[in-house]
Amino acid sequence: MSSLGYYLLLAAFVVGAYATAISVAGARRRSRPLIESGIGAFYLLAAIMTAASSVIVYAFLTGDYSIRYVQRYSDSAQPLFYKLTSYWGGLDGSIMFWVFLLSIFGSAAIYVNRERHRELIPYVVAIISGVEMFFLLLMVVHNNPFETYLTQNPTDGAGLNPLLQNFYMVIHPPTMYLGFVGLTIPYAFGMAALITGYLDDSWLRAVRRWTMFAWLFLSIGLGLGMIWAYEELGWGGYWMWDPVENAGLLPWFTATAFLHSVMVQERRGMLRVWNVSLVIVTFFLTLFGTFMTRSGIVQSVHSFGQDPVLTRMFTVFMVSMLIFSFGFVIYRMPLLRARNELDSWLSREAAFLFNNWILLFCALFVLFATMFPTLSEAITGERITVGPPFFNQWMIPIGLTLLLLTGIGPLLAWRKSTIVNLRDQFLFPTLCGLLIGGGTIALGVRLWSSGLCFAFGGFVVGTITQEFWRGARVRQQTTGTDLFTALIGLVGRNKRRYGGYIIHVAIVLLFLGFAGGGFKHEESALLKPGEEVRIGDYVIRHDSLAVTDDGRKQMVTANMTVLRNGVELTKLYPARWFFRKHEDQPTTEVAIRRSIAEDLYVVMPQFDASQQSANVEITVNPLVNWVWIGFGLLAFGTLIALLPETAFAFAIGRVPDAARTATASLLLLAIVLPAAVQAQDGSSGRTNKTAMQRDIEGKVICMCGSSGCVRSPLNNCPMRPACHGYDGQTAQLQKLLNEGKGQDDILTAFVKEYGTAVLAIPRGGFNSLSWLLPYGLAGLGLLILVVTARRWSTQPAAAAAGNADMTVDPTIDARLDDELRDLD
């Protein structure tokens, strides 16, 4: 099995080499068959990688512990889900997964563009295959995931690190890789354009969508990583400028810059060298990020081992890639001359340019500060570190400037803004900003950074509201529809622009969450049962400590009551889990009371079972949930920008009345649905009775000795069989089951009788999936919307015969376009 996998990797390497060589040869000789052969080889590589991936997944599923990688990252007790995802649990598998994704993603990109950008394709194939070859070589000579034990095969695996056995950690790496891999595509097209000299804007059009797609995944990946850090690591925050986090952020900055400066090139033919350089730098940073975190060159709390071989190979690859890429940029400089000059600093172009500089500066600064310990050691011989305060000191003002620019950019006209339209454009947003800023001061906020952040946020939202409002008014006047339809039509007409504005709103929400971090406060205490600690308006009382076991791990759970003004708000259950085989690395299960205004975040890093006492760290995190909401909205906005052209066709003019109403209700549904689901989750269906009975017995504490001081679940009570609590409770459980009650009802009944102390595993809390569900459903809603929209748009003639909307003739359409352009 393992040798099959290894030979597949070797085969992939050979096929990759063939694809590179034959494509370059085909392009130089302008030979169609050779080029086609290269494309074919490229698809073949994807097929081989799929097969190799199947092999490793199969090894994980069947528990083939003769393979070192499988042995190290899984064990037989792991649930199926984690067995599958152990594929990318370690370095060797990650690299393979990376190549697999790149081959699939690249094949899709080539399939879509093979006719439209015929001249570029052979070089795109060659570049992507070249990158794949590097990673394949890495695996073949150094990080072979199929490596086996030479002498004795272990009978069971070591198991995945418990910290990684978390839903977000499972989906975080693949999203991140999709982002990284996706950014290889623009690089390949950019390089192909440089090599061939076809440096008009066609390569930009080819990669625009791919970049946005990659950017979306990178953003979501960063967001998921933050959620994971917040919920799993238990230090009370979500970002601390660790090298591993920074590695993902670096290409995000430059990719964001690229997405903005692309518009300048499309519109005005400027910034051409800049754009192609950005693409190269972005790709370089994805490599560098991987290198930085994997080679041990930067010391991090994520302690990776030193790996000199990996370091050397990566260095050689990165240096040659930089020389190759920028060599071509210099060679093609004459073809990259800008078609226009900057007319005025008070123009949209200039705003974009500023935005680009700042984003690039962010990337450089983060890179510098992350590498600082390494740099200082290389130069002075002393290892000097800089902490998160240094990052914050710089990034807060930079971030605020960026936020302000987000509001200013859309208000400026292309080429040159006149004084009159400046006044006209800036009046409303500035008022919004001043209003919010004034309100903030009136409310007694004395933190300059957060106060400014709120004010700037108000300004940006003002800008975007004004843009939507004016656009919709114009459209309403020309099409004669109602404002709502006009708004949808407007967004449909220019999805990239208005999707972008939605993303800007999301950025404001993110900043809102970041600004809330300024008001965070912490408290730590050692509590015996019955003792309380006060933090802000909250009083937290430690009630008891329970020890339970579910076969895979032992769980120590504290029962805490949260009070505000003497009224009980909720119960919180911070816990520590000791996974089998990883007893020395217990995981911290954070208990969070979420609300829109602030999170109450409780962790129990230490406990004393003999005294039932718990050490707790409590953090109040104001506004933190807006960060997650911001990421959700950001994804929504990007999806709108990514929608295919026809998706909104129904709203662009000829809409039957009924359809319009239906659209409105569908949209409303899409917004309301997630909320309804949120309210519903937690109620689970009924399952097999005996299994369920066993299940509940594990979830209910035996109340023998009336207070349940032994704190063992029913099925595990040491006082059995002479235990009155056990008999009584099992009888009661049987009775409730016979009445046909579901698990939730039964647990509720128990709680009613004995109080929440009866529950071994507190309800709610740990189920991360339910939290993601609304977003999934929102996505589904959107999909339905799109599909419906497409169907309507394909048969408008029959449906709208005789409808007044039919009178919208092409001239009005054209006029609208003109007027919209004026607003630009």
């Binding site: 649990g89 370690g90 990650s94 910290l163 950690m169 230090w235 709390v301 290892r383 902490g387 230490q606």
Partner: protein
């Protein structure tokens, strides 16, 4: 053309200088030296009163804790040189005899006053993004 080039050159020079100076001044405030225990023990005088990160190993049996308090006193060593350290707060589980720790704080004549303690796991993490336990 040369006029324009000069303008760009001067602007970038000014910007670079400004950022350089800013970077230098802010760096000074937040810089911390990263030292191993044996590098510090020989020359306490040089390091007293400076912000420092010290890397070493907990001496077995040296950990003492005040009852019902979160105050710890312990010794850290490397290559035979030992140093007394104090820390108040919650310690990670991986903080025990022989564990590898990085302390952040200030050196005084009584010992090292740590305000942050990071312990690396004795069986080292090598998983994909396996983080060490931060305080």
């Amino acid at each position: 053309m040369s006029h324009k080039a000069a303008k760009i050159g001067v602007t970038s020079l000014v910007l670079a200088t400004v950022f350089g100076v800013l970077l230098y001044t802010t760096l000074g405030e937040s810089m911390q030296y990263y030292k191993y225990v044996d590098e510090v023990v020989g020359s306490q005088g040089d390091w007293t009163g400076k912000k420092l990160q010290v890397h070493g190993y907990v001496v077995p049996g040296s950990i003492g804790k005040k009852r019902d308090r979160l105050e710890y006193r312990f010794d850290i060593q490397r290559n035979g040189k030992t140093m007394r350290a104090f820390y108040t707060g919650i310690v990670p589980d991986t903080f025990k005899d022989d564990s590898e720790v990085v302390l952040t704080g200030m050196l005084t004549k009584d010992g090292f006053m740590a305000n942050d303690l990071t312990a690396k796991c004795p069986s080292k993490y090598d998983e994909a993004t396996g983080p060490a336990v931060k305080r």
